[in-house]
Symmetry: D2
Subunit: 357 residues, 4 copies
C-alpha cells in the first residue's frame, strides 16, 4: 500500500455519502470514487464535490451515460483502483459483493445490516480496534449496536456491568425516504424478544451479559435507548459520569439546558455548523442519568444518531485494516479531530448534577 | 344508601365521559348527571344521551344558559343529589374539590393525575378491592400504573417477581386535542429517572420491587410498555401465559395474526363495535412474550389504552365504596360483563406459541 | 328478484366491511356474505357478526380451512347466491372480476379506484340516481370525487357555479395500515396537474367546469378540501348556506364550537356512538365559509371522511340498480335514516354567522 | 454611516440566527452583536461563533451573568453601537421595540409577524427594493408572503396575472420546538377566509388581485403552496417557465428527478453542504407546473422554506436602507452570491418538459 490508503465507497446512500466525506477529511486516506446505481438528485452531491462517479452495474453505466452524468467507469474499475472498499449498499446487495472484493484482492468493510458471519469480525473502535489491524474483511456494526457498545461497553470495560438491559425506540424510517414507508401515529413492537442488538454486541463482547427489546415509532431523527445496567459492585453517579466522560464518542447534553428532546439536539447540530447537521456522538442526557440508592443499577437515556454514528468507526476500521496506525487511541484521536467530535453540548457546561434515584 | 348508588361525574373529558357511559351500564348504579365548564361540541354527547348537565362553576352556569344548554343546576346541587362523585377534572382542579365533597358528606373518586396523599388510598380492582370497601375517598391510579398493576401485579401475586423493570413509551397527547400541543417527529425523554409510575404502583403493592423509565412520542393511540421481570424462581413461558390468561382485564393479541402495531388494535376495536373503539384491556403481544432460557426473566410488550383502561377500575371502586359487593371477583365479573371485556382478540385463537428466548 | 335484494361483498377491507354493515341495516336488502383472501384478525368481525365468510380464491379456501375459519364456500358460490356484488377488492384485482360477475348474470358495483370505463357509468346518489336504475354495472366514485360532487355538485345544480377550483390535502394512508407505508413529516405533491378528481367528477357532470390539485400529507383521519367556486352570478353567504343545508349528506361544523380540526370531528363521532366513529357526511366548516364581497366567489373548507363517505352512495346504488325505488330522494332518505345521517354537528346549532370576506 | 453598516440582531431565534450569519457574509456589513433573553443551549452557537452577546432585558443580564455567559452589555448598548437593528423577537415583543430604536436614532427592520402599520412599509427585494432606499423602518414580510411575492409577483410583473388564488398548507410548528405545541395526525384549517397572506402581499402590490386560503398540518419542514393563476392573456408553459427562471430566488426541482416531497428537498440541501441545510429559494416542482389548454390558467406547486426564505430579503433591506446600493439587481446579486443561491437543483438539469394540462 501507499502512504495513503485508497478508499472506494460502493453505495452512496445515508451511510455511503457520509463515509465519502469523512474519508476526504483524513490525511492518510484518498477517496478514489463512489459507485451507485441511481441517476437522480442524490448524485448531485457527488458531482458538485468533484468525486469520481462509477456505475455499480452495467445497467447503471448505461443509465448514467444516458443522463449525461459521465461516469468514470464501472465498479470493477473502481475496486481495482482502490486498496479498500467500504460497501454501503442495501442489505440484499452487500453480501453478494464479498466475493467480488476478495477476488480482486481488495479489503472490504461492510455495514451492520449484514450478518457477523459475512466477515467473521465485527467492529467498534473503542472496543476491538487492535483486532482489526491488517484484516481483509470487517463489519462495522449497526447504529444501535455501536451506541450500546460505546456506552455499555465503556461501563463494562470499567468493570461495572453485571447485567445490562436496554429498550430501543427505533426511528421509523430514514428521513430522506420518509415520504415512502414510514409508520404514522403508531408504535410497532418488534416481536423477536429479546431483539438482535444485544446478541449483536456480544459478537464483540462475548462475555457481556446484555438483553435488548425494541420497537419502531413515527419519527425519523434517530433512535432513543433506555438502558438499565445492573452493576457488579455499588457505584455512585459521579463514578458513572466519570467513566462516560472518558468514553470515546459519547457526549453529554442536559434537558435543563433546553435540550429536551431529539429535535433540540438536531437543531443544535445545525446551529453548530455540523455537515448535514450530523451528530457522530451518542448524546446522553446527563440530567436523566441516575443510580439506584444502593448503587446497584445505573439508568441511562441517550439519543442515537442513526445516520452518522458509525462514520467515525468506519474511518478507524479503514485505518486499522490498512495497518497505518497500531494504536486505537491515536487512530480515534485523529478521526475525532478531523470531524470535531466533542464531549459535551450546550451553553452551560456545568459540574455534574445528575440525580441519585 | 339506596338499592342503587347515585353517581355524579364531575368533568366530562376523556375519562369522565367514559365513566358516565359505564355507570349507565351497571344495574346497581344511577348516573345523576355530569358537571363541566365548557359549552362547546363536547357537550353534544351529554345532551343527546339525555344526561343531566350541571355547571361546575358559576361562570359556567351563565355560559351554559347563554348558549341555550339548559343546565340542570350547579355542581353543588349535583353533589347533593348523589351518593358519590367521580372527579375527572384536570389536575389543578381536582385536588381543590376534595373538601367540597367531604363537606357535603359525599364519597369521591379521584383520578391518577392526583397524588396518593389526596385520598390516602390508591386502587386497582384486582389488587386491593377489599380495602376499598366502605371508603369515602379513593384514587384510581393512572392508566400506566393500572397497566403495570394488572400485568406485573398478577405475576407478583403468583409469586414470580423478584424485580421488575419497565420502559414506558407514552402517547404524546390525547387524540381529541392533538391539534394543540403534541410532539411532532421527536421523542421527549422524561428526566425524572426512575419515573414516577413504579413508586406509584408501590402505593398499592409496597412490597413490589419495580423501577420504570419513560418518554413521550409523536403518537396518540395509547402507551406501549416494555417490561422485564426478573423472576423469583425459574419459570417457563407456559406458566407465564397461564398466569396472564387468568389476570383480570388482560387480553392477548398476536402480531402474526396481523395485529402488528397499535393502529391494528384500534382498528379491531372499531370493527368489533366497541363504543368509541375503546379497549379496556391491556393488550399483550403473545408472540413477543419470551422468557430467558434459564427461566430467570420474563419479557413483555403490551399496549396501554390510556383513554379507557381505568374505566372498569372506576366502576369497581364505586361498587366497593358503596359496600354493595364485598367480593372483588364478583364485582369485576359484573363490570366486565357489562362492558364485554375479553381474554383474547383476533381471528385465530391458538394454543400458546410464544417463543423461548 | 325477490322482495329483498341479495347483496354480496367481495373484499372485506376499509370499504367492504362498512358496506356489509350498512347493507344489514336496510330492510330491502340481505347480505348473503363476504368474500376475502385473508385469514387474520380482520376476519374476526365477520365471524362475530355471524356473516357468512367465503373464500375469494382457491388458495384462500385452503388457508381459511387450515385456520379453522369454516368458510361457507367460494366466491363463485357467493356470487351465485346473490343478486348483486359490491366489489371492494384492491385496484388491480377488481377490474379482473367484471367478467366473472357478468358471466354469472349478476349486477356489480365497483369502487372509485377503478376507471370509469370499467362500468361506463359513475355514480353519486344526489347527482344521477335516476340513471342508475336497472343498470348492471355501476362505479361509485372515490371519496374525494364524492365529496366534490356533493358540495360543488349541489352548488352547480343550484345554478351557481361558473368555474370551480379545489386543492385536496389527502390523507397519507389508511389508518389500519398506518404502520406500513405512510409519509412522515413531509408533504408529497401530486405531479399530475390538474389532478384526476376534477375530470373524474366530470364523468357525472360533464358540463361542470372544475379543476383540482392534490397532495398527500402525514395524517390518516381523512382528506381536507379547499374549494373556490367562481359564481355564475353574485351570491350572498346566506344563499350558499341555504343551498348547502339542503344538499344531501353535507353537515356543518363550527371551529368556534370547538371543532377546530379533523381530530375534533373524529372525537365527536366517537362520542355520538357512531359505528367505528364513522362520518358519512362531508363536514363543512361553517365559520370558514366565505363569499367574496362582490359575490363572485365562494370559499369552502371541508373534511372528507375517506373511510365512510361512499357508504351511503353504495347503498343507494344497490337500491337503484335493483329497481326497487325509482325516486332518488326517497332512496336517499331511507339510506340516511338507516345510518342516522345529519345536517349539523356540535353543541350549539346557531343561525348562520359565516363571514363575508 | 461608515463604509460598512453596523448591524445588530435582536432575538436569536429561527430568523435571528440566520440573519446574523448572513450579515457576516456581506462585505459591506458588520455584525455588532446579538441580543436575547435565554441562557440555554441556543446561546452556544453565539459563543462558538465569537459573536458578541447582549442581554435584551435587565433580567436577562443577570441571568446571563449568573450562567457565566459574559454578556457584552445591554440591548441599549448594542443599539447604540449599531446603525441598524434587525428585530427578530417574538410577535408581542417586537412592536414594543419600535420606539426604542427610533429614540436611539437607529434604523430598524421588523419581521413579517408584525403588522404593516408598524413600519408603514413592507418589503420584498424583487418587488420594491427602490422604495426601501434610505428608509428608517422596514418590515420584511413573512415566509408565505415572500414566496407568493417572488412567484406570483414575478408573473404579475410580466403582465400575466389577472387573478391569483393560492392554498397554503402550513407547517405545524418550527422544528426546534416540535416537542412542544405541534399538531399530530390532524389538519387544522384557518377559519379566516380568505387568509391574511393575500392582503399582506397587497401591501406591496396593491394592484394585484389575489386570494389565499390556509391550514396547518403535522409536519415541520416548511410550507407548500398550491397556486392557480388566471392569466391576463393566453400563455404557454414555456413562457411561464421562462419568467420563473428569471425570477429572483426561485429554483426548480423535479419529482421525476427523485425530489418527490419536502423531505427530499431538505435532504439535498444537507447533501449540498448548505448551512443548517437551509433553502433560501422557493422550490417549484417543474414537472408539476401546468397551464390550462386554453392558456388561461397556470398551476404551480412549490415548497416554502419558512426558516430561511426571508434571509436574503433581510440582507437586501439592510443594504437598501443604508443607501449603499441604489440598484435592486446589484444588491440581490451580491446577496445571492454570498449565500450561493441557485436557479435549479438536482442531478439532471433538463430542458423544460412541464406538461400542458
Amino acid at each position: 500500500m501507499n502512504s495513503s490508503i485508497r478508499v472506494a465507497v460502493n453505495g452512496y446512500g445515508v451511510i455511503g455519502k457520509r463515509v465519502a466525506d469523512a474519508v476526504r477529511l483524513q490525511d492518510d486516506m484518498i477517496l478514489t470514487g463512489v459507485a451507485d446505481v441511481v441517476t437522480d438528485y442524490r448524485i448531485q452531491a457527488v458531482l458538485e464535490r468533484g468525486i469520481s462517479l462509477y456505475a455499480a452495474t452495467p445497467e447503471a453505466l448505461s443509465a448514467m451515460r444516458g443522463a449525461g452524468l459521465s461516469p468514470a467507469g464501472t465498479l470493477d474499475e473502481l475496486v481495482a483502483a482502490s486498496d479498500l472498499v467500504v460497501d454501503c449498499t442495501p442489505k440484499r446487495v452487500a453480501a453478494g459483493n464479498r466475493e467480488r472484493y476478495l477476488a480482486a484482492g481488495r479489503k472490504a468493510i461492510f455495514q451492520g445490516g449484514e450478518s457477523h458471519e459475512l466477515t467473521g469480525f465485527s467492529f467498534i473502535a473503542s472496543l476491538n480496534y487492535a483486532d482489526a489491524i491488517g484484516r481483509d474483511l470487517v463489519r462495522v456494526v449497526s447504529c444501535n449496536t455501536t451506541a450500546l457498545g460505546r456506552v455499555v461497553g465503556a461501563l463494562h470495560r470499567a468493570g461495572l456491568v453485571r447485567h445490562a438491559r436496554a429498550v430501543l425506540f427505533r426511528r421509523g424510517t430514514d428521513a430522506w425516504e420518509s415520504h415512502l414507508n414510514a409508520p404514522l401515529n403508531t408504535v410497532v413492537p418488534e416481536t423477536r424478544t429479546p431483539s438482535h442488538q444485544g446478541p449483536d454486541l456480544q459478537t464483540i463482547l462475548p462475555e457481556l451479559d446484555i438483553v435488548t427489546m425494541a420497537a419502531r415509532g413515527p419519527f425519523d431523527l434517530g433512535h432513543v435507548h433506555f438502558t438499565m445496567v445492573e452493576t457488579s459492585r455499588p457505584v455512585a453517579v459521579d463514578e458513572v459520569l466519570s467513566v462516560l466522560r472518558d468514553a470515546p464518542r459519547v457526549a453529554f447534553v442536559r434537558s435543563d439546558d433546553g435540550i429536551a428532546a431529539q429535535n433540540s439536539i438536531v437543531e443544535l447540530m445545525r446551529d453548530l455548523g455540523r455537515p448535514r447537521g450530523d451528530l457522530w456522538e451518542v448524546a446522553i442526557w446527563e440530567d436523566a442519568l441516575a443510580v439506584r440508592p444502593d448503587g446497584g443499577e445505573i439508568y441511562l437515556v441517550y439519543h442515537v444518531p442513526n445516520e452518522a454514528i458509525v462514520i467515525p468507526e468506519t474511518i478507524d476500521a479503514i485505518r486499522g485494516m490498512a495497518g497505518f496506525e497500531p494504536d486505537a487511541a491515536r487512530s480515534m484521536a485523529r478521526t475525532d479531530a478531523s470531524l470535531g467530535i466533542r464531549r459535551r453540548f450546550g451553553a452551560m457546561p456545568r459540574p455534574a448534577e445528575a440525580t441519585s434515584a
